[in-house]
Each structure stands twice: as structure tokens, then as C-alpha cells.
């Protein structure tokens, strides 16, 4: 544990503490002024701009998670119980996309979703639409679709791993005792796969809430998330590191609260 703890302390705890201290400082021109002011936090909680972006970020993250986790769960279930012999092969195929770069994958989605992209061209060729569906790109929908595509492999990994520890016998026993499929899912499969489910949820929710590259590239002119604002505070003329640090902490706190709430809701549902 000591090496892991040391690594965690040096590369996570110490930087986070530095960031926390910085969040109470002030920026004056190009200089950082050591201080203990709550002005940065006050500004975050009183600014309508940040409130809107925070809510939008939580919304996009939740919708993305609500797509990614059920799809990953279904896929993992099929890999484990329906196509068990081909499970590893399917896993490799799912993970294949991780071999390409993050930016490359985002641009690939832009190619698929663009006005003259693969999806719109196909729909027009099939005669299903007359004009390109413009909401498919440069919108919140595009952000959700792209994030879902990016995060799905990451969610499959812990879920499939968790399901490997679920014996088929438990599911069959439940069904033999007369439980419906939904009841078996809720009271047997989900509780047993809960560690994987929790990790998948964390990957999907926290990573999508913190992403700022995807909204910048496919989000268009009205899909900026809080991550974009935080990034702006750390670069270029007019940047404000202390404000950015405070924003980062507020976002971490809100997202952790939302994550813990969601995990507890899942746990409650399984015991209900």
C-alpha cells in the first residue's frame, strides 16, 4: 500500500492542495497575489453565467451517463452470458477504438455527424430527409453522442470485469424460483455487478462532466460546458488562475455529490 499511497499523495493530494490554496489567492494582471479571499467562490455562486454552465454540464453529463451505462451494461451482459465464447473477442473489438487518439475519435464523430457527413448523406440518399439534420452536429446532442462513443469502451471494462464474477447459477436459480427477468436483474445481477457499475458510472459521469475538448470541437456555438470556462482561466492574457482553481473545486464538489447521490439511488433501487 505504501508505494500506491505515496504515488497518490505526490501526484494527487499535493497538487490538489496547491490548487485549493491558489483558489483563495487573487490575480492582478500577470501576477498571483497570495491572499485569503472568498471573492473567487463568491463570484462563482453569484454569476448567472457560471450557474447556467454548471447546470448545463450536469445535464450533459447525466444524459451521457444514462446512455453509456445501460448500453455498456447490456453489452457486458451479452458478452458474459449470451456470447460467452466470443466474450473476449467482442471485448477486444470494443477496446479497439481506444488505440486511436482522443482527438482523432472526436474528428471521426465530426465526419459522421457533419452537415455533409456520413449519417446525413445516408439519410438523404435513402430519401428519409430532404435537408441535412443540422442538430446532429455543433449542438448538445452532438456532444452527448460523441462523449457516449468515447466513453463506452471505458464503461464496458469494469462492467464486464464485474460480470465475470457473477455465476450463471445465481441467475438461473433466481429464474427457477419464479423471479421475473426484471426482478432478477434488480435483485441479483445489479447488486453483484455493483462495483463495476459504480466504476462505469464514475467514468461516464465524471469524465463527461470534466471534458472541455469535445464541447469545443463538436458542441458548436451554444454548447460550452464549465470545463471550457475553467480552461480559459488558465491560459493566455486575461487568465485568472485563482478563479479557475476555485471553479475546479466547486465542480469537483458538485460532481462528487451528484455521483454519490446517483450511486446511492442505484443501491436503494436494488434493495427496494
Amino acid at each position: 500500500m505504501l508505494p500506491a499511497g505515496g504515488f497518490y499523495a505526490v501526484f494527487f493530494v499535493v497538487p490538489m492542495l496547491c490548487l485549493l490554496v491558489l483558489s483563495f489567492w487573487r490575480a492582478k494582471g500577470f501576477e498571483l497575489i497570495p491572499d485569503f479571499t472568498l471573492d473567487n467562490y463568491r463570484k462563482i455562486f453569484t454569476s448567472p453565467l457560471y450557474r447556467v454552465l454548471m447546470l448545463r454540464t450536469i445535464g450533459v453529463a447525466f444524459v451521457t451517463t444514462l446512455i453509456v451505462v445501460p448500453v455498456a451494461f447490456t453489452l457486458s451482459y451479452m458478452m458474459r452470458f449470451v456470447f460467452a465464447r466470443r466474450g473476449q473477442l467482442i471485448l477486444q473489438i470494443v477496446l479497439l477504438s481506444l488505440f486511436s487518439g482522443y482527438l482523432v475519435r472526436i474528428y471521426a464523430w465530426r465526419t459522421i455527424l457533419g452537415k455533409q457527413g456520413l449519417l446525413n448523406s445516408t439519410l438523404q440518399w435513402l430519401g428519409l430527409v430532404d435537408q441535412p439534420l443540422e442538430f446532429l452536429i455543433y449542438s448538445n446532442i452532438a456532444v452527448v453522442i460523441t462523449l457516449s462513443g468515447l466513453l463506452l469502451p471505458l464503461a464496458v471494462l469494469p462492467l464486464y470485469s464485474a460480470m465475470l464474477n457473477v455465476s450463471r447459477d445465481y441467475l438461473e436459480a433466481s429464474r427457477d424460483l419464479g423471479a421475473s427477468w426484471v426482478y432478477t436483474l434488480r435483485t441479483v445481477l445489479v447488486p453483484m455487478a455493483l462495483p463495476g457499475l459504480r466504476t462505469a458510472f464514475a467514468f461516464a459521469f465524471l469524465l463527461s462532466a470534466g471534458d472541455f475538448v469535445t464541447p469545443a470541437l463538436v458542441g458548436g456555438s451554444q454548447s460550452m460546458l464549465i470545463g471550457n470556462i475553467i480552461a480559459d482561466q488558465f491560459r493566455g492574457i486575461g487568465s485568472n488562475w485563482p478563479l479557475g482553481a476555485a471553479m475546479a473545486f466547486v465542480v469537483v464538489a458538485i460532481m462528487l455529490f451528484a455521483y454519490l447521490a446517483a450511486v446511492n439511488i442505484i443501491r436503494w433501487v436494488t434493495r427496494w
Partner: protein
């Protein structure tokens, strides 16, 4: 040479690239051939050799161009690249003092630093850069590089940020940026993610007396005017490369605050784009310079490097690599015609910085009386993006 350069740049189109990042690795350029004959050994005086630390925009370290100079003088360049204009200052303030030699600030950043009196650059001894006498008149006494009679940078490249548009959709750009609010531009505009450039352009369009010095009320007026155009904006490009990609894909037909080189990129993709800024408002200009960091540990190497890179052959090669305007007068004739013709050189043939000298885009860092500071501009831009 040009074909190989274009192919390379084209291949980079789908990466997240800034203007400068397009260029690194264009190793096939014939610049080495040109420079091979002109490179002299600066080691003759026994001062050069060892290390040279570069922190600046990608490509401006002259990976190909400076190679003969570095090799002949046994200099090992440690190049690292910035992703934001203020990265050198951050590095200086976080333990980097005494570890940086050459920096490449842009005009706006250097203006802000010198005005604020912030310690980052050291004055240059021009006697040690004799090639600087060959700069275009506008760059010889560039006001953004001079403070208290001391010069703090040698310009290396320059350019402007015009509108780039699809001529199949539009004959010309409107007279003013505020005209982009017309509903006929709906779904046609892509802007660069640049708070200062965009706010400055709209402030100029609203005939603000000093577009870089706005009061809170004026800034709100500018924001209101910009928001009228917002429904017509498809997306905000993360970089010039990203913006070009949006235009090439046909997701938008007009790029505001673009780069002339986007025309060449699009041509390689079989898409025709042309340059043409609003006739009344025009656009703004930028320039990057070589500067010497305060407490630079390898001053002799740095001077040798700057002097070598300011030779006409070096400057032409670097400007061609970076698809930008050259800053040395004799380099003009050495530039490839397609790149040379992209920039209005009349602007830099005038003394006193020309339009680059009089045009200040960046606001003050801190509020100055009623005039708001740069953070307010950033917040206004964020409001625009979030609306």
C-alpha cells in the same frame, strides 16, 4: 518544395493545431539546401557551443532552418512549445528562471508585458544582431518591442486575420462586422476562439474611438452587438486548423478572424475559399518576435541564433515553413510566390511599425480608470460563447 509543404500541412489538418503548430516537421523543405551554403560558423570566436533553451510557438524554433547553425556551432537546442501566450511567464514564475533563453512572444503579449513592467524579457544588444538592420522599416523600430529606448524583440514573422469565405456562396464580405447579424448568414459563420480579436473587431465596427480600451458600458454594447450575430454562428473554432476543417467540410462558409493559409489548405481538399475582410472595418495584424528571457543562461548562443535566423535566407525559409509574412526585406524575393502573395506587404514597408504599430488589439491587464481590464473581456467572451 511547396507541394511537399502543402501535403504535410494537409495531413495535419485533422489535428488540433494552432497557426504555428501546422508547421513543425516539414522536414522535406529545401530550406536546408538554401541555408547550407550561407550558414557560417559562429564558433570562430570561441563563445558559442553548449545548450540553447527555447520556449515559444511550435515551429518558430526553426527545427529545419536553424539546423546548420546549431550543428556547426555544437549547440544543442532544448525546445519546448507553448500552448498559450503567457506560458513563458508562468514558467518563469514557477521555477523556470535561469532555464530559458529564447522566447517568441506575440505582439499583443509583449505589448502587455512591457506596459505592465512585468519582468520576463531582457533588452537586446542590437550590436550583436547585425542582421536586424535588414528588417522591414515597420519592424526596425516597432513600438511594441521598444520601451525606454531599449529593444526587447526581433520580429520573425507576421500576418493578419482576415475573413476566409466560400466564393460559391458569397461574392464579398459585408462592409462591417456588425452586418454579420443579418439573418442571411444563419448557419454560415465560424469564429476563432479568441476573446480579444473578436471583441476588438466588433468594437471597431461600432466605431469605438479606442477599440482596445473599452469602458464597462462600451464592452456591454460590443457584447450586445456580437450577440445579434450569435444565431448565425455555427461553431467557434478551437484553433485556425479547426476553423479550416469546419470550412472545408462545408459546415460553415465564412470564417471570421481566419488565416490566409486556410485558402491553400482548402484548395488541397478541392474546396475553394478566398480571403476578404469587411471593406470598412478591415482586420487586425499580428507579429511574433524572438526575445531574450531575463536571466537567460546561454546569452551568446541566443544572440548567435537570433542573428542567424534574421538572415534573409533563414527568415524566408522560416516564414515559408510557417506560411507567414517574412520580416526581413531581402527575404521577400526569396519567398514562394503563393505564400508571399497572401500578405499585404505594403503595411510593413512603412516606418514606425505601420499599421502593426498603431493597431493595439489587447486591452489593459488591469482596469485603468473607467477602462476595463482583460479579465472583463474574457468574461464577456465567455458570456457570448455560453449564450
Amino acid at each position: 518544395m511547396d507541394d511537399r509543404l502543402k501535403v504535410f500541412l494537409d495531413a495535419k489538418l485533422n489535428a488540433d493545431v494552432s497557426r504555428r503548430r501546422f508547421l513543425q516537421g516539414a522536414a522535406g523543405l529545401s530550406t536546408l539546401t538554401v541555408l547550407g551554403a550561407t550558414s557560417q560558423s559562429y564558433a570562430a570566436d570561441g563563445k558559442l557551443g553548449g545548450e540553447l533553451n527555447f520556449l515559444g510557438w511550435d515551429g518558430e524554433h526553426g527545427g529545419n532552418v536553424a539546423k546548420p547553425f546549431l550543428e556547426q556551432n555544437n549547440i544543442k537546442m532544448n525546445a519546448s512549445f507553448q500552448s498559450a501566450a503567457d506560458e513563458a511567464l508562468t514558467r518563469l514564475n514557477t521555477g523556470g528562471r535561469g532555464a530559458m533563453d529564447i522566447l517568441t512572444p506575440n505582439k499583443d503579449f509583449q505589448t502587455a508585458i512591457l506596459k505592465a513592467g512585468t519582468e520576463l524579457f531582457q533588452p537586446l544588444d542590437l550590436a550583436r544582431i547585425p542582421t536586424a538592420s535588414g528588417l522591414f522599416p515597420a519592424f526596425k523600430d516597432a513600438p511594441w518591442l521598444v520601451k525606454d529606448g531599449k529593444t526587447y524583440g526581433i520580429p520573425i514573422i507576421w500576418g493578419d486575420e482576415p475573413c476566409v469565405f466560400n466564393p460559391k456562396k458569397w461574392d464579398a464580405m459585408p462592409a462591417k462586422y456588425t452586418d454579420f447579424a443579418d439573418p442571411k448568414y444563419k448557419g454560415e459563420l465560424v469564429l476563432l476562439d479568441d476573446p480579444f480579436g473578436n471583441i476588438w473587431l466588433w468594437a471597431k465596427s461600432l466605431d469605438m474611438p479606442e477599440p482596445n480600451r473599452l469602458t464597462e458600458e462600451q464592452l456591454q454594447q460590443v457584447l450586445d452587438a456580437m450577440l445579434k450575430s450569435k444565431p448565425n454562428v455555427v461553431t467557434i473554432g478551437a484553433s485556425h486548423g479547426d476553423m479550416a476543417d469546419v470550412l472545408v467540410r462545408g459546415d460553415a462558409s465564412i470564417g471570421i478572424g481566419g488565416w490566409a493559409y486556410q485558402v491553400m489548405i482548402a484548395k488541397e481538399k478541392g474546396v475553394e475559399l478566398v480571403v476578404g475582410s469587411p471593406s470598412v472595418d478591415g482586420t487586425f495584424y499580428w507579429s511574433d518576435s524572438y526575445a531574450l528571457a531575463v536571466d537567460a543562461p546561454n546569452v551568446d548562443n541566443a544572440y548567435g541564433f537570433i542573428d542567424f535566423m534574421t538572415k534573409p535566407e533563414s527568415n524566408a525559409a522560416l516564414a515559408a515553413e510557417l506560411a507567414s509574412g517574412c520580416t526581413v526585406e531581402a527575404a521577400y524575393d526569396l519567398m514562394p510566390e503563393d505564400i508571399r502573395s497572401m500578405f499585404p506587404y505594403d503595411n510593413v514597408r512603412q516606418p514606425g511599425g505601420g499599421i502593426l504599430g498603431t493597431q493595439i488589439v489587447v486591452p489593459p491587464q488591469e482596469p485603468d480608470g473607467d477602462v476595463v481590464g482583460a479579465p472583463s473581456w474574457v468574461e464577456a467572451w465567455q458570456t457570448f460563447k455560453a449564450s
